[in-house]
């Protein structure tokens, strides 16, 4: 047992609230305020996982978002979450967690055995092997996949919900440490609408750990308390803890995810509240105060459980009351780690501090440490750590003062814990997400954000390389004051006073030498999560992967879920050394969102489940439900597909619906068709331009079918348009094309022909449309309507009337998509269901039969009418559809798409045309999507002649029919072709696509 509890003044745990939790099937005790990591350490648990490539034992290294190793699986069943960092999991009573790696067990891992051969697994070793024999790769891959990966994906649907919240604010402050709190205070005092977010449960940043500083005479956390109280009193300020700003996009759009309930036991979560909330924040001004993260030094076996960052050791001690070890070696190259060593020593831990610098820290710090009883070794570095599953000691070497070379051996220490500090790395991620570049600061040894920030993005505190609190706060004050001045607001208050302390410069050392050429000694890890060692970077560069992006991609440096927070700068520095270039020239890899991982659920927010996409219903839907309709999804709409009676399947129902309609009367809900009111003195001219056929001579009271082409000459939509008055038209479009056509009309009018006086208004939702179809449809209408003359001569096919149906004002069009005598009644949709039910009542004596889209498809196919999108696919011209009758090539204005019809290929031979097909066996229904061959003995690749677009059993004809597009189809009537699907071919005869009533007697009846 290495770690243990120790009382610390100002600790952030609540000893009055003991908790218990389970990790890998063992129950442990902890306190409210612990993280899973602090609780595990307090219980002496060190081995948390196995490494990615070599299966090496791994333990906790950090204490926050930077943690590379301690990836755990939280909870089980529907609530399970993979890959959480133990350092970020707030502990709650009854928490259940487990390790994610290790097979067959964490303690005894097979990959760990293989990993002993790690010297034969250089970077890119996958690319260099597993190639022979060719067929064996799937076998290798299976093992590689199993060996890789951390947690397990949940298998049950997520029982919790997520939402989004948009903000439009003046100032967003990212980071609730000293700098962020002060920035928010100043912005808040200036009356600006301000939002402060911080990823942790408690504001304070590094002040949560650091105990010695005094700000304006107050202890750090007292000052934090004062700030929070003030911010809470300002109505224009919002403070969101547990909220991680994870992405910054153009124009200061910041995405942040707030963990609303993750810190609560599953049983205490409020089902009415989301688990997490995605904040989408538009801020005029972003102030980045995201601080810095301490990086470790790179040395031999620096991955043995028990090796941590000094900041982590320090934080576990002061924040959580956990001493991470009894005998601790602190290795540093800077002054800050002395604080950790000092607090540990003062807490009774036996501390040795090795400083890579010959001169060590500022004298006062050295003295303080010695006074606390710690041993100090200047000019020393760790050559390698001893121990396997836990640290047992360390071998030190003496370092040259200038070159990073070993000049002698050092002591071999017996310790149970090693803390290392390689200096701080500014958290520049957000600054760089949309194009900002960090700059290398050789004094502070970090890529930092420039002092001047970017337009509307200010950077304050440690993100600019201000490591010392006094510097950070004075820079913050100056930067925010300047900014407020820029907004025309003064700032109130003086910069917080913090005593300046003397600091010795850090040493520019990243990889501690062990006296051996790189690759010969103990593996020294740069990226823990991806098992990238210092030698791997050298190897990659030797192999000419010299761009830092190549180094990253070849070795996987920084690709983990920690996104290289600990490893990047060390990796860049080692690459720089191998390349013989300064770090600044090597540059950084690209920073990409997200800063820390964010659930898909939070990204999707409310747009899942019943609100994933609108379900659009017609006004008559309840009637269809009552008649037990099955539905078809058409665009966003739900349309009745067929209306099965008891015991009927699709085919039985459709046969019945078809026969009833052809023989008596059927009724269909056609409300989903797009409807556009087109009006103006130039409406007719506009239609001439937008449709391929002519509209000049359509009289009021008449309807016409129109084809719309795109400029490529291909059919994009069709529908019937009725002339209501000389300057007024009721246009219909396909259901799926409604929005597109509406936009199409507006765009052509506004961009190309603004001089035409015409306007378009969508009326799709206003009209409920009921199609009454069949020989008895007239009789039904006559029963419902007294003010329209339905006589066949008075109200002809393709006529339209306005009048009263069932007492309702209505537009009635005698149009037919079935070849039958048929009428479409349009009424105000609020009366839609009433109209439908009145039609049902009036039609009862004729056994009126509601039908859905499937019957509609059969009826129209019997007449050879196309459905855009089914019989066409964006490559069909009107000629290809045998619809040149709907193209007015002589119209004066060159309508949309006309010119394209004249192009050499479009006008040429050898294109496919729409035809009818009759299978020689009338019982065989061809497969829609079947391909057509001219010969049965065609071999692959076969010369495909076209395909079947629509195919049905026609109950009316008592046989199967089909529509197809066929190469040169217009000239092939009478040919026998072979219709091929999944290896079977069926002979069919090419015929006209009009199967029923070629003369049109029925629709004109």
């Amino acid at each position: 047992m290495s770690g243990y509890r120790i009382h610390r003044p100002g600790e952030r745990i609540n000893r009055q609230k003991p908790l218990s939790f389970i990790f890998d099937n063992v129950q442990y005790k902890a306190f409210s305020g612990d993280t899973l990591a602090s609780a595990l350490l307090a219980n002496g648990v060190r081995l948390i996982g196995r490494s990615f490539k070599y299966g090496r034992p791994r333990g906790i290294v950090g204490f926050g978002a930077e943690e590379p190793n301690a990836l755990i699986q939280l909870e089980t069943g529907a609530h399970t979450v993979p890959d959480l960092k133990a350092t970020q999991v707030e502990l709650y009573q009854g928490l259940l967690a487990g390790s994610t790696t290790g097979y067959p067990s964490l303690d005894f891992d097979l990959k760990g055995l293989l990993g002993k051969f790690g010297r034969f697994m250089p970077p890119g070793f996958y690319y260099k092997t597993f190639m022979e024999p060719v067929k064996a790769w799937p076998f290798y891959e299976k093992f590689i996949r199993k060996a890789a990966g951390y947690g397990r994906a949940p298998v049950e649907a997520d029982p919790e919900s997520y939402d989004h919240l948009h903000h439009h604010i003046d100032v967003l402050v990212v980071g609730g440490g000293a700098a962020g709190l002060w920035a928010a205070t100043l912005a808040g005092r200036a009356g600006l609408k301000t939002l402060l977010v911080d990823e942790q449960a408690e504001m304070g940043g590094w002040l949560l750990t650091e105990r010695r500083s005094r700000i304006d005479g107050l202890s750090g956390m007292d000052w934090v308390g004062q700030r929070l109280a003030e911010l809470a009193s300002l109505p224009n300020v919002t403070v969101l803890p547990r909220t991680t700003a994870f992405a910054l996009h153009d124009l200061n759009l910041v995405q942040a995810v707030e963990l609303l309930q993750d810190h609560l036991p599953l049983t205490e979560r409020n089902a009415a509240l989301p688990r997490q909330r995605l904040h989408k924040i538009r801020a005029h001004q972003v102030i980045l105060a995201s601080g810095a993260i301490e990086r470790p030094l790179v040395f031999g076996y620096n991955d043995v459980p028990g090796v941590m960052t000094a900041a982590a050791g320090h934080s576990y001690l002061n924040r959580y009351g956990v001493a991470v070890g009894r005998e601790v070696l602190v290795q540093t190259q800077n002054d800050a780690a002395y604080e950790a060593a000092l607090d540990l020593a003062l807490s009774g831990v036996k501390v040795t501090l090795a400083d890579a610098r010959q001169g060590g820290a500022a004298a006062w710090r050295q003295q303080a440490l010695k006074n606390a009883g710690a041993e100090l070794l200047l000019g020393h570095g760790i050559a390698k750590v001893l121990g396997d599953k836990s640290v047992t000691g360390a071998q030190l070497v003496k370092l040259d003062g200038r070159n990073n070379q070993v000049i002698g051996s050092g002591p071999r220490l017996s310790v149970d814990t090693v803390l290392s500090s390689g200096g701080l790395t500014s958290t520049v991620h957000l600054f760089c997400h949309n194009g900002g570049r960090p700059v290398w600061n050789q004094q502070q040894l970090s890529f930092v954000c420039p002092d001047e920030g970017r337009e509307n993005i200010a950077c304050v505190g440690a993100i600019t390389g201000r490591w010392e609190l006094s510097d950070a706060l004075s820079q913050t004050h100056a930067a925010v004051a300047a900014l407020l001045l820029g907004h025309g607001r003064g700032s109130s208050g003086k910069a917080p006073a913090v005593a300046h302390e003397e600091v010795a410069a850090p040493r520019a050392i990243f990889r501690l030498p062990d006296g051996k050429p790189e690759g010969h000694g103990a593996k020294a890890f740069v990226d823990y999560q991806n098992d990238v060692a210092a030698a791997d970077i050298h190897t990659a560069i030797r192999e000419n992967y010299r761009s830092i992006e190549h180094v990253k991609r070849y070795t996987a440096l920084g690709f983990g879920t920690d996104q290289g927070k600990l490893s990047n700068i060390n990796g860049f520095a080692i690459a720089a050394e191998a390349l013989g270039k300064p770090i600044a020239e090597v540059g950084t890899t690209t920073y990409r969102p997200s800063y820390t991982p964010v659930t898909f659920g939070a990204l999707a927010g409310p747009h899942v489940g019943e609100t994933f996409d609108p379900r659009r219903y017609t006004a008559i839907h309840a009637s269809h439900d009552a008649r037990k309709a099955e539905y078809e999804v058409v665009g966003q709409w739900l349309r009745p597909w067929y209306f099965p009676k008891a015991g009927e399947d699709l085919h039985a129902a459709v046969n019945r619906e078809c026969l009833a309609t052809r023989n008596s009367v059927g009724v269909m809900d056609a409300s989903t068709l797009g409807k556009i009111d087109v009006k103006g003195p130039d409406a007719r001219e506009f239609l001439n331009r937008i449709y391929s056929n002519a509209w000049s001579k359509l009289d009021p009271g008449k309807c016409r079918y129109g084809l719309m082409l795109d400029e490529n000459g291909m059919v994009m939509d069709d529908g019937v348009t009725a002339c209501l008055a000389d300057d007024h038209f009721h246009m219909t479009t396909t259901t799926g094309g409604a929005a597109r056509v509406y936009s199409w009309l507006e765009r052509w009018h506004q961009t190309e022909w603004p001089e035409l006086k015409v306007r378009f208004t969508t009326t799709t939702d206003h009209w409920a449309t009921v199609a009454v179809v069949g020989p008895n449809s007239r009789k039904v209408l006559q029963k419902l309507c007294t003010d329209i003359d339905f006589d066949k001569e008075a109200f002809k096919f393709m006529d339209g009337r306005t009048g009263t149906v069932a007492g309702l004002p209505a537009r009635v069009f005698r149009i037919s998509f079935s070849g039958e005598l048929a009428y479409e009644i349009n009424v105000d949709a609020n009366y839609g269901r009433y109209m439908w039910e009145e039609v049902m009542k009036a039609g009862a004596e004729f056994d009126i039969t509601p039908y859905g889209t499937e019957t509609m498809h059969v009826l129209r196919a019997e007449k050879g009418f196309i459905i855009v999108g089914q019989d066409t696919d964006g490559s069909m011209s009107p000629n290809d559809l045998a619809m040149s009758w709907a193209v007015g090539m002589k119209k004066p204005f060159s309508f949309l798409g006309k010119r394209s019809l004249l192009r050499s290929h479009t006008a040429g031979d050898g294109r496919k045309q729409l035809v009818g097909l009759l299978p020689l066996d009338p019982k065989v229904v061809l497969a829609e999507g079947a391909q057509i061959l001219s010969n049965t003995d065609d071999t692959v690749p076969a010369a495909m002649q076209g395909h079947v677009t629509s195919s049905y059993h026609s109950a009316f004809l008592g046989r199967s029919i089909a529509m197809a597009v066929l190469k040169d189809g217009s000239k092939r009537e009478g040919d026998t072709v072979f219709v091929w699907a999944h290896g079977k071919s069926v002979p069919a005869q090419v015929v006209s696509s009009v199967f029923v009533d070629k003369e049109g007697v029925r629709q004109h009846a």
């Binding site: 919900s161 939402d163 989004h164 919240l165 948009h166 903000h167 439009h168 009415a272 509240l273 989301p274 989408k280 538009r282 409310p606 747009h607 019943e610 609100t611 996409d613 609108p614 379900r615 659009r616 219903y617 017609t618 006004a619 839907h621 309840a622 966003q636 709409w637 009111d677 009006k679 103006g680 003195p681 007024h728 006086k757 306007r759 208004t761 969508t762 009326t763 799709t764 939702d765 206003h766 009209w767 409920a768 007492g807 309702l808 004002p809 009424v827 105000d828 949709a829 609020n830 009366y831 839609g832 269901r833 009433y834 039910e837």
Partner: protein, 227 residues
């Protein structure tokens, strides 16, 4: 327009939620209160403000000044007239009154040979009222527009999720949300879902004679059940 006799057979786009059955008197708690104002009359008004007589005719018929500024709303006890586009307005009133107005307007447009029209959209639109202290927050959950910035007497046309809506702000008490019939189910579910954390309740809406929209509820509520 049909006479009152037919109204019992009208169905609002939200009828399947049976809001009447769920509605309770509004209380002054922190909840989100919401309900539909069903069966109002809507007309899209198209015209050219540069044409002499157009604005005058509209005001003469409706008693509502034609709003010329983007997003502006004219209101009176008989209804509202909202700017939706430089040549387009949305008129909302009681169905019967609206039918009378549009008939008069169309006759007037024809008489004065104006390039203008009305398009009845009463079947295609509906309107919900959303109130409670956090009602703007509910909208902020769903839409990217800065809803807190809508001035009183203004409307904004924007998106909530994947639906286009008009949000009308007449006072600080709540907002009116106009949406299309076929999206009504979706918009209602979205609103309900977003409001849930604050406590969502359907409230009874009272006719208020002085209010441009609540006044329109004065007519008897039709039965929603079809025989």
């Amino acid at each position: 327009m049909p006479k009152q006799g037919f109204q019992p057979f009208m169905e609002s786009p939200l009828h399947h939620f049976k809001l009447d059955a769920e509605a309770q008197p509004r209380r002054t708690d922190g909840r989100i209160w919401c309900n539909e104002l069903p069966h109002l009359g809507y007309a899209v008004l198209r015209g050219d403000t540069a044409e002499a007589g157009f604005a005058q005719l509209v005001e003469q018929v409706t008693g509502l000044a034609l709003p010329l500024k983007a997003g502006a709303v004219s209101q009176g006890p008989q209804g509202v007239l909202m700017w939706t586009s430089p040549d387009e307005w949305l008129l909302v009133s009681h169905r019967q009154r609206l039918a009378d107005w549009t008939a008069q307007l169309d006759a007037g447009f024809a008489e004065h040979k104006l390039f203008a029209q009305t398009v009845d959209s009463s079947g295609g639109l509906t309107l919900a009222w959303l109130g409670g202290t956090e009602h703007l927050t509910v909208l902020r959950h769903l839409g990217v527009y800065d809803f807190e910035s809508i001035p009183l007497g203004h409307m904004v046309s924007t998106v909530l999720g994947k639906a286009t809506v008009q949000v009308i702000r007449l006072d600080t008490d709540g907002v009116f949300v106009v949406f299309r019939r076929s999206f009504a189910d979706y918009v209602w579910r979205l609103l309900r879902r977003a409001a849930q954390p604050y406590g969502f309740a359907v409230c009874q809406l009272e006719a208020r004679s002085d209010h441009p929209l609540f006044a329109q509820l004065a007519a008897p509520r039709p039965s929603l059940i079809l025989a």
